[in-house]
Amino acid sequence: MPAIEILGLTKDYAVGFWRKRMRRSLDNLSLEVNEGEIFGFLGPNGAGKTTCMKLLMGLIFPTAGTARILGRPIDDVAMHRDIGYLPEQPYFYDYLTARELLDYYARFSGFSAAERRARVTRVLERVGLASAADVQLRKFSKGMLQRAGIAQAIIHDPRIVFLDEPMSGLDPIGRREVRDIILDLKTQGRTVFFSTHILSDAEMLCDRVAVLHLGKLRGVGSPGKIVSVEVHAMEILFEPAEGHSLPPGLAQRAMPVGGRYRLELPEAALYSAFDEIRACNARILSVSPVRQTLEDYFLGLVERAPQATPPVEAGTR
């Protein structure tokens, strides 16, 4: 039995104040997520990822199609015992402290008071909020709210965790910690379904990804296969030695950036460039691949499939 089964989910929204027109935000999406895998839901902003999550959570109702989670229909509230959900940019009762908030959510799972206390302490520790446990949420930063959101999604040890943009609003350390949590969940045998518009997150974590663009599914599979990231070029940042000027060949190709130089070149030419730079006593600061952004990737996707233009206009109501 798949953990999540999506069958032709479609959602139209009415837009416009006076003359309502329908805008299709999710178009006939079908998808299966297996139990125990980390599944990445990829797409640029506005692709329909959040709409899909909200449909699965029963926050909004589909125009067409159905879905099953753990074999149960999505309007079966009892199934929610086994799932956790982190919404995009979560917001909580800001008059509560983090501890009270988590205790509140834990009550819906029917734990005893002692059990709740233990779980809250443990999960606060895990998301790195132990020191802020008794601070009211109105004093929380965006990153701290994100952590509190993750905490409430996993406090009851759900079998499936839905995370909508879990890395957003986090600093690099926070992102790393969230990655660790996700990988932890996998080792515990949980299913993680998370959405992101950041390619590297997906690459690093996912067993499989689905790519969504303008409400339509563009592909499902392992991240390497689906989002084959071509590294066009490498980038070297270097600093010339004091009093030395660059040889004209190098100066022509490199771009000065505040007393330093940036050189972009094909991967094959990397080592000869090293030699050139070393020859003039310059110091290499960094070498990194020039990557395609996801936006570039999607741009390419649309160009490759020009017939699949924006899926809209289900007509006027």
Partner: protein
């Protein structure tokens, strides 16, 4: 009450407390103290009347303001701030949430009213009266006020499910005022010769909750006894409307796409 609504209700009460809603009690206390001292000074033989009238009216008005202004935000605020996203990912049904929210505000109103009633009793003691049997009617009047507040809360909750706080406030107060004047509206219809108006005003009379049923402040102030039959009739009457409104609310809210 089953577990889910109770959890929501307690949290709703906690929110009201943390938002310093109960500070209105300070104003009420000052009002009662001022009135007791002033009335004690002039002593014209109507001390009890004045204190009871003023106290019960204040209990009713303070409660009404709370019921309407918190009530219209009960659901709307949670939708707007998207606090419902995480809540509804827990095993709670939408109607359970509504019942919890409703019970939470009613709990707040009950506690607020009980505290105000204690203040009223203290003011009566201050002006030098021991309590008598006739004072039972004051308690019944307070109970009737609570019934009307519970009903107003249900109306506000209903509108809160689909409309903005400003409009909900207007609608709720509109129904409240209509409910107070329901008898006059019907009387007005009876004066006309149009059968349609007669019928329409009668329909309004029986459809809109008749808030005048719950007003026994004057009887309490004059120390008259209130028949027991009225107590159960009013209780049943309020409960019927509350149940109807909660059914309507959950019918609306359960179908609603959250923002």
């Amino acid at each position: 009450m089953s577990a889910m609504p109770r959890v929501v209700a307690i949290n709703t009460f906690r929110e009201a407390v943390r938002d310093r809603v109960l500070y209105n009690l300070v104003v009420f206390a000052l009002l009662m103290i001022g009135a007791a001292i002033l009335v004690g000074q002039i002593s014209i033989g109507i001390e009890r009347l004045v204190i009871v009238n003023l106290g019960l009216s204040a209990i009713s008005i303070f409660g009404l303001v709370m019921a309407v202004f918190i009530g219209v935000g009960l659901v709307y605020k949670e939708i707007e701030k998207r606090t419902l996203y995480t809540l509804f990912s827990k095993p709670i049904r939408r109607w359970e949430f509504l019942v919890g929210k409703y019970a939470g505000l009613v709990l707040t109103l009950v506690i607020n009213t009980v505290l105000m009633t204690i203040g009223l009793a203290a003011a009566l003691l201050y002006i030098g009266r021991s309590f008598a049997r006739a004072d039972v009617s004051i308690l019944i009047a307070v109970y009737f006020i609570l019934l009307s507040l519970a009903l107003v809360t249900a109306i506000a909750l209903f509108f809160s499910c689909f409309s903005s706080p400003l409009l909900s406030t207007l609608f709720t107060l509109g129904i409240y005022v209509t409910g107070i004047f329901a008898a006059d509206i019907r009387g007005f219809g009876a004066l006309t010769s149009s059968a349609f108006l007669k019928g329409a005003t009668s329909v309004v009379y029986y459809l809109v909750p008749n808030f005048r049923n719950f007003n026994s402040i004057a009887a309490a102030a004059h120390g008259e006894s209130i028949p027991f039959s009225l107590v159960w009739q009013n209780t049943a009457y309020a409960l019927i409307y509350i149940v109807l409104l909660l059914i309507a609310s959950s019918a609306v809210f359960s179908r609603r796409n959250l923002k």
